[in-house]
């Protein structure tokens, strides 16, 4: 793994969890990449650090991941399956085995330098950790800024850090080291460089300097979006107070300028950076939330590209609820006047020139290819595209030009976090398929120290209260909660932490368990749904049974939802902590139930996504059952002929169908639907109705991949299906491929975008239509260059490199006319002789006039909608759907192909509308995640299941009648109920129904819950 950002971390975790040993090479002193710098993430406004932290910790302490920091790959020799990688490890000048991360050295270091983690806004020392929650938590010396090195190691005198370091970790004599590792495959996830607004490099090549245009680095209150993230962040240079850099006063008006270093050929960035629209909206919304005074925020943009899942809703909410202003415009420049106001000059959509005053301006800078990765690509012979991103093919989106070397994340093209995570899992799947023979040969087993017996000991409870930056601490009075907890019986230790989930705090929890002989741990922080496993593992490492842990949710269900009421929020937090402590007194150690995993997977849906997942899982060596409701495999892709890049789709599809059908490990069931499903991770049993006779067949499998796809919206707008001149884009593509007479004779063709997308019925973007339309327009221009093509659109969303084709279409004379959602185009049909003329009228915004186009053909970009059968499927597998009817993932950012229900995964359009390459990436991602389940012989089920007290049971059988899983049987000899541990899911229906109180539930027993109620 080259690169330790979120992409590298995800790939590494996937592979390490499915039986491979991973070397993770990161050039900086800590892993994490850009994500730790972000304040919040769209569209959920999750705290970036909070969601990343568990992954960082998991990666940092995984026994099958070797993290090599401060290092870069010099060369890769050999072939797929057998590479020799030489890695150069730069000196850290701090002994990694000795440094305890106490920070004394940095406190004493006299050399202050701008902190790149704070985007240069704050200061750090020459000996430093990248960020407070860094993994590994080790200091490093920044050689160019170290006083000793500056004067020459021999002559220099400073050595203050060395003097103060108590663990003797400073080592000025460290030298560059070469490490050689032998690996089967390589994944490149180096990430991106932020666009350099003041890049001398660009200026040298004759590209525009944006300093002159926007005054960046000349005017202190013109900042980049990354600087703005740091300004918003609680751990940033201004501690989360929204102030402007020049005088630290709160701004009243902030502007965002989009596409700085994106969609701009004058600075060699002709592509769209894909993420800036969303992050600008997010920053604007969060800025309004942070500001204590009324704040005006305006985003100046060209097209609003909120194309992802739930992004349009976020955009609408920003407009309607938060009052963010959006101005479609072209910004010419910024000028600072005496009163330090920034005057922004721009042309509005109707061409009018305007000037507006702001206190602060944020430049939404784009994503550039990582320069160190470009050099690496040259060294190891990997092809790059014309923008210097890694070249990939539509149908193999994670393969580089060199066999066995894969790519993921922003180095493959600008993308956001979930897309990166999906692609990272996808690259892991490709690696796993390549190396399936070597699975399990190099991995080490995770071993915990023997569990201490705590039976019979009085409870000794340790309580750890988390500030979560300002997420909790900004509302709830954390010290007060901590002090209060200390007064409660059996509490022997209390502590507070900035981020309790960070690695240093995990270490501290372990130390405190040992020091104070704690036998129960209570953490008051976020939700147990996300963080309980992390803390449980921590206490296990200190010899405590993982069930000796309780959590109080004082963030998601307290500080975040009572922001205007700090006093009552603090009271509530105290109550929640008291309730958790009260339960913790009665919790007992439990042992997990272990069961064998069935190494087979059920893939539902035989489209490209389903087939790709099936193919990859079979390549990984697992048995696959592929269900398709129709007669033939292929799904919606059967209707697609070309990709945007002009590659034919059908040969790829035919090849995939053939490979899948002929794979001995894959059983294909056509004309098959699910009738019934039961079971749990590792052991599912699904009954299907298959074939013309609807025979019932039972399939046993360890995991499920849902890849059911989506369908075209059934519209009646614009005379669709009523007039033969009005067709869908898919039909147009067919006509083009046949070079039909109709197309050849057509002189004026109009396309209308967003038919059945971004409206009241379907308030989301269908993502693919803009690209599809431009693809068709370009094909038509090839076929008949003189044809007039008009595309009526709301925003053109050709994100990433697709922007090139948009530019090309404009160059070739395709006319783009924008319309507003409240002034949709109108189509009237007029008969002229035998021919129907479609009179399309639309408001031309630049002219401010109504335009009437006499069209021969009208093609509608019809949106994508979820399948109606999703509802039934969601009930079979106990997984949720979102408001639109697409499947809802476990976490939008970091668990994009999983569900909260273990062992169930999804990919393709069942998740949301997407292009083929995105479906393929996601299908591989789902396969990778499913592989982590299937590759383990044994699945551990939680110990929170029911048990019967034989002496109390009267054998009445009520529990048997309420158990939804048939997990309880009657022992006829003894006339008592008996629980089948493998079947019990721990719902507790039996416990709640037992009149004698004989059947109880581990982890949620009657006396535990009663004691919580009593302490309320």
């Amino acid at each position: 793994m080259v690169g330790g950002g979120i992409g590298g971390i995800q790939s590494a975790l996937d592979l390490a969890e499915s039986g491979y040993y991973v070397y993770l090479v990161e050039e900086s002193p800590a892993i994490g990449g850009v994500m730790p710098q972000l304040d919040k993430t769209f569209p959920t406004n999750d705290c970036s650090m909070c969601i990343l932290s568990p992954k960082l910790v998991e990666c940092g302490r995984h026994h099958n991941i070797e993290v090599i920091t401060n290092s870069w790959v010099k060369n890769i020799e050999g072939d797929a399956g057998d590479f020799t990688v030489s890695i150069i490890k730069e000196p850290r000048y701090v002994d990694e085995n000795k440094c305890i991360g106490c920070g004394l050295c940095a406190e004493k270091c006299p050399s202050k330098v701008p902190n790149e983690f704070d985007a240069g806004l704050g200061k750090r020392k020459a000996i430093y950790v990248q960020y407070p929650q860094a993994v590994p938590m080790l200091y490093a010396i920044d050689k160019p800024n170290c006083i000793l090195f500056k004067k020459g190691k021999e002559k220099g005198k400073c050595r203050i850090c060395e003097k103060f370091c108590e663990s003797d970790a400073i080592d000025f004599d460290q030298e560059e080291e070469q490490i050689t590792v032998n690996v089967g495959s390589v994944i490149l996830a180096p990430g991106f460089d932020k666009f350099q607004v003041d890049s001398a490099e660009l200026a040298k090549h004759g590209y525009t300097s944006l300093i002159a245009q926007y005054g960046y680095s000349k005017y202190p209150n013109v900042v980049t979006s990354l600087e703005f993230e740091r300004i918003l962040s609680a751990s940033g240079p201004y501690e989360g107070h929204l102030v402007r850099p020049s005088d630290k006063t709160p701004p009243k008006r902030i502007a965002w300028i989009q596409c700085v270093g994106s969609r701009d050929v004058t600075c060699n960035s002709g592509y769209c950076s894909s993420v800036c629209c969303m992050y600008a909206i997010k920053e604007a919304v969060i800025a309004k939330e942070h500001s204590k005074i009324p704040l005006d925020v305006t985003i100046f943009y060209m097209d609003m590209r909120t194309y992802g899942k739930d992004f349009d809703r976020y955009y609408e909410r920003a407009k309607e609820e938060h009052g963010v202003k959006f101005v479609r415009s072209k910004v010419f420049g910024i000028e600072e006047r005496e009163d330090t106001g920034l005057y922004l000059r721009y042309a509005a959509e109707n061409g009018e020139l305007k000037t507006e005053e702001f206190d602060m301006v944020t430049l939404s800078i784009g994503l550039n290819p990582k320069s160190s990765a470009v050099k690496l690509a040259e060294r190891v012979d990997i092809q790059l595209n014309h923008y210097n991103f890694c070249e990939t093919n539509t149908f193999t989106p994670v393969n580089t030009s060199r066999d066995g070397i894969f790519v993921c994340g922003a180095f493959q093209g600008p993308k956001d976090i979930p897309e990166t995570v999906m692609q990272a899992s996808g690259a892991a799947a490709a690696s796993a398929a390549l190396l399936s023979d070597a699975r399990g040969t190099l991995v080490k087993k995770k071993e915990f120290p023997p569990q201490k017996s705590v039976i019979g000991e009085p409870p000794r409870i340790g309580v750890f209260v988390c500030h979560c930056g300002i997420n909790i601490g900004g509302i709830v009075n954390v010290p007060e909660v901590k002090d209060y907890a200390a007064t409660l019986p059996n509490v022997v230790y209390v502590d507070e932490g900035m981020y309790t989930c960070s690695q240093d705090n995990q270490k501290s929890i372990k130390e405190k368990i040992a020091e104070h002989n704690l036998n129960r741990v209570v953490v008051a922080s976020c939700s147990p749904r996300t963080h309980e496993p992390l803390f449980q593992e921590t206490i296990q490492e200190q010899g405590l049974n993982k069930y000796l842990f309780e959590m109080a949710n004082i963030r998601d269900q307290c500080s975040w939802v009572h922001q205007s009421n700090p006093e009552q929020a603090t009271e509530k937090a105290k109550d929640l902590v008291r309730m958790a402590i009260s339960k913790s007194r009665l919790i007992t150690p439990l042992s997990p139930i272990t069961l064998k995993t069935i190494p087979a997977v059920l893939v539902v849906g035989g489209g490209v996504a389903g087939m790709t997942a099936a193919q990859n899982l079979a390549d990984q060596g697992f048995e696959v059952h592929l269900l398709e409701k129709g007669m033939k495999l292929g799904g919606l892709t059967k209707k697609l002929l070309y990709t945007l890049e002009g590659e034919p789709v059908q040969p790829f599809l035919t090849d995939l169908v053939e490979k899948v059908s002929n794979n001995p490990l894959i059983t294909v069931y056509t004309k098959t639907v699910i009738a019934e499903c039961s079971g749990y991770i590792g052991n599912f049993s699904t009954k299907v109705k298959t074939g013309p006779k609807k025979e019932i067949k039972e399939i046993k499998h360890g995991a499920v991949v849902i890849a059911t796809g989506a369908q075209e919206y059934k519209t009646t707008e614009y005379h669709y299906k009523k007039n033969r001149g009005v067709i869908s884009l898919l039909d147009l593509e067919k006509e083009i491929s046949k070079a039909s007479k109709r197309v050849k004779e057509c002189e004026n063709l109009v396309m209308i975008q967003c038919v059945g997308s971004r409206d009241e019925n379907n308030p989301y973007c269908s993502r693919v239509c803009c690209t599809e339309s431009i693809k068709c327009a370009l094909l038509l221009k090839e076929l008949k260059p003189e044809m007039n093509i008009y595309i009526l659109y709301r925003d053109i969303r050709t994100y990433g490199f697709k922007e090139d084709y948009y530019r090309e279409a404009r160059k070739k004379g395709v006319v783009f006319i924008r319309y507003e959602s409240d002034a949709k185009p109108e189509v009237n049909i007029v008969k002229e002789g035998k021919k129907d003329i479609l009179k399309v009228s639309v408001n031309e915004p630049l002219l401010g006039e109504k335009l009437i186009i006499d069209a021969d053909m009208l093609a509608l970009a019809i949106g994508t909608v979820p399948l109606p059968e999703n509802k039934e499927l969601s009930q079979f597998f106990k997984v949720p759907l979102n408001e639109d009817g697409f499947f809802l993932e476990a976490h939008m950012k970091l668990r994009p192909v999983e569900f909260a229900t273990d062992g169930v995964f999804m990919c393709g359009m069942a998740h949301s509308p997407k292009l083929i390459e995105e479906s393929i990436s996601q299908a591989n991602a789902a396969a990778s995640r499913a592989g982590t389940v299937l590759s383990k012989e044994i699945v551990e089920l939680p110990g929170t299941i029911s048990f019967v007290d034989k002496t109390m049971c009267a054998g009445c059988g009520v529990c048997i009648s309420v158990c939804p899983f048939g997990a309880i049987e009657m022992d006829n000899e003894q006339e008592i109920a008996v629980v089948n541990e493998a079947l019990c899911k721990g719902c507790g229906a039996c416990t709640a129904s037992c009149k004698a109180g004989a059947i109880n539930l581990h982890g949620f027993s009657n006396n535990q819950i009663m004691s919580v109620i009593d302490s309320f």
Binding site: R529, N553, D556, P964, C987, V1012
Partner: protein, 146 residues
């Protein structure tokens, strides 16, 4: 005088939320920063079907002014039918509570899914309002002999 009392008094409400739907919905309300009154104290249970009617009585005895049990929507239960079992139990306890003189609205039952952050906040606001109108619950409160 009655009005003055009402102003200073804030009810305390116990909510039993199932782990898979309503608790997740409550988390999502947090993630979405949807604000609601701070009067509830949540007890996380695996399933609404885990809520023993005795828990409700015990909560009232301990001075809870209101109680909410919330689970997955019908058909969506993570445990297939736990929420139906909860609904049946609730129908019975509802009558018992009426019999012992607990006002309607003090003890409520609702369905909130993992995606319904807004609805969760609404449900909490509603029960808080309802309980505020009813005033403190005194009927079953245990007189503790300290």
């Amino acid at each position: 005088m009655e009005a003055a009392k009402e102003n200073s008094w804030e009810p305390k409400i116990i909510t039993f939320l199932c782990n898979w739907c309503s608790y997740a919905g409550a988390d999502l309300a947090g993630v979405s920063r949807i604000q609601y009154p701070p009067n509830t104290r949540t007890i996380r249970v695996p399933c609404s079907g885990r809520v023993n009617p005795l828990f409700i009585l015990r909560a009232l005895q301990n001075g809870a002014d209101g109680i909410l049990v919330s689970g997955c929507h019908p058909g969506d239960c993570h445990y297939l039918s736990g929420n139906y079992s909860a609904r049946r139990k609730f129908a019975v306890i509802d009558r018992l509570l009426e019999y012992v003189g607990i006002e309607k609205g003090r003890v409520q039952f609702s369905w909130v899914s993992a995606a319904e952050a807004g609805r969760f906040a609404e449900v909490i606001s509603e029960i808080t309002e309802d309980v505020k109108k009813l005033g403190p619950a005194k009927r079953l409160v245990k007189k503790r002999v300290e």
